[in-house]
Each structure stands twice: as structure tokens, then as C-alpha cells.
């Protein structure tokens, strides 16, 4: 994924907190951990065939972040003609951190925000913009 901008597309589902966690992880990557290396676009804009969104997704590696097993972001992107390079289910991050249960859907609370940091950090390592991780050496 070197030398290209990685496009991270969260499902942004509004019915469950994991949609918001995916969304916040995307912003954390874009603004904090991987500025200049990660971008996003509106999933809905892609689905209406907006030329800029389609071109962005077509020409760059794509990571989808789905809040649940419905896998809407992954499936939507596939139906737009692109197979994501990585399809992530946010709930799988929760499985490794059971104590971090978000307290609301939009207001995630402290546990939810910690889960955002963990997910974003894990993805930053994959995207080759290593984030400082507690307990691990700097990349």
C-alpha cells in the first residue's frame, strides 16, 4: 500500500455503536495517525456513482470498516465494482477487548473511545504509518 492514499470507508451505521466506532477510527487515522496517507469519502456518494468518489476508490487501496455482520460497507463497495483490500468488522476488535463496551451510539463514552484508539492504531500499522502503541517498540 506504499505511495498511495488508503481510502478507509466506515459503514457509519446509525443503529449501533460500532458504526460510530468505525467512523471515529477513520477520522483518527486521517487526522492523527496517518495524515496525508489516509482519506475517506462518503459511502453514499460512492453509491450514487459520484465520479470523484468512484475514481478515488478505483485507484487506491480500500479498507472497509463494518459495524456488524451485515457487512454493509464491504458489500456496498463491492457492488460499486471494487473488492476492498481489507474488510474489517469492528466487533472483532471488541472481542479482544471485552471490557471496552461503548456506552452509547453517538456518545461512545471512555471505553468506546479507547476501542477507537485501538482499532485505529492496529490499522495504522497495516497502512505502514506506525502509531505509537503502549508497550511496543516504535516502528
Amino acid at each position: 500500500m506504499a505511495n498511495k492514499t488508503t481510502v478507509v470507508l466506515p459503514c457509519s451505521g446509525i443503529g449501533k455503536p460500532y458504526g460510530e466506532i468505525g467512523r471515529q477510527s477513520t477520522y483518527t487515522l486521517m487526522e492523527d495517525l496517518c495524515p496525508g496517507k489516509v482519506t475517506t469519502t462518503c459511502l453514499a456518494k460512492l453509491m450514487i456513482g459520484d465520479p470523484d468518489a468512484v475514481e478515488l476508490v478505483k485507484n487506491n487501496p480500500v479498507i472497509t470498516l463494518d459495524g456488524c455482520a451485515q457487512d454493509c460497507a464491504r458489500k456496498n463497495v463491492e457492488s460499486a465494482g471494487k473488492k476492498p483490500d481489507r474488510a474489517v468488522r469492528v466487533i472483532n476488535t471488541f472481542k479482544h477487548h471485552r471490557d471496552l463496551k461503548p456506552t452509547g451510539i453517538l456518545d461512545l463514552g471512555e471505553p468506546g473511545r479507547k476501542l477507537v484508539e485501538i482499532l485505529a492504531s492496529d490499522l495504522a500499522l497495516e497502512i505502514d504509518c506506525p502509531a505509537k502503541k503502549e508497550g511496543s517498540a516504535d516502528a
Binding site: K16, P17, Y18, C68, A69, I91, F94, K95, R98, K101
Partner: protein, 151 residues
């Protein structure tokens, strides 16, 4: 009989389904009689919908005995941890191993691929006294939903 084999109750945008020809326990679990004498058990669509996305299941092993109305494991969702109640007494013969890695099968298909155990029932005829058919269970589910949604 409906075309899909389900009875459905719609509330807002949510559709709550009940599989016809299964039997139901008041604690939101179902029983399907198999031809080989075993029964397959799982939880209802109502329970998985109100419980939330399943993240973990803690299940008993094959060979374990269960008692009708007693615990047969637990599931942790993104909202809460819920006890799974055994709808029949008997011995577990098979555990749905797919739930270890894909517990959300319970959400995706609670009456099919989200099955939990296959059990050799101790006394199915006796157990049926405490079980309901779909037609009897359906209005009880409807009532629960209306009460839950108007809280």
C-alpha cells in the same frame, strides 16, 4: 402455512419471526424435532433482536446434561450478557462449533445456521408440556414486543 415457513410480526421497521413447526419455551428458546430422535435447539428471533449483536458464546461441551428450564450456557452481546435456557432435559450430543468464530450466526439466522446444540432428550413427550407451538407462542411474543417498545 406461510410461503416462507415463518410467521412474522412487524413493529416499526423491525420484523420479528417465528418459525412454524418449531416448539417454543417461555424463556425464548426453540426446539426442532429431528428424524433421528434428537432435537436441535436455539434462541428465538425476539431474543437475538432484543439482545443485540452476539460477540461471544460460552457453551457446554458435548456429553453434558441439561435440565429443562436450567442454564445451557450464556452469550455476551454488545449490550449485555444473557443466559441461555435449556428448553428440554437431556444430553448434549453436538455443539454448533461454527459459533466459536462466528457467533453472529445467531443474529443472522437464529432458526437455521445459528442453532446451538443437538440434544438427546430425556423425555420429549413430558418436555412438551412446558413447550408451545408457534401459534401459541406468537401472540405472547407480540405482547412482549409491544410492552418493550412502548416503555
Amino acid at each position: 402455512m406461510s410461503e416462507t415457513g415463518y410467521m412474522e410480526f412487524n413493529y416499526d421497521k423491525f420484523a420479528f419471526r417465528v418459525k412454524e413447526y418449531y416448539l417454543y419455551h417461555q424463556d425464548e428458546c426453540w426446539v426442532k424435532q429431528e428424524e433421528n430422535g434428537l432435537v436441535t435447539v436455539g434462541i428465538t428471533d425476539y431474543m437475538q433482536k432484543t439482545g443485540g449483536d452476539v460477540a461471544f458464546v460460552e457453551l457446554l461441551e458435548a456429553g453434558a446434561a441439561v435440565k429443562q428450564g436450567g442454564e445451557m450456557g450464556s452469550m455476551e452481546t454488545i449490550k449485555t450478557t444473557m443466559t441461555l435456557v435449556a428448553p428440554v432435559s437431556g444430553v448434549i450430543k453436538e455443539v454448533n462449533g461454527a459459533l466459536e468464530d462466528e457467533p453472529q450466526q445467531i443474529n443472522q439466522d437464529p432458526y437455521g445456521s445459528g442453532w446451538i446444540y443437538k440434544i438427546e432428550p430425556a423425555d420429549l413427550a413430558g418436555a412438551k408440556q412446558a413447550l408451545m407451538d408457534a401459534k401459541t407462542y406468537f401472540p405472547l411474543m407480540e405482547e412482549k414486543i409491544k410492552n418493550e417498545m412502548t416503555k
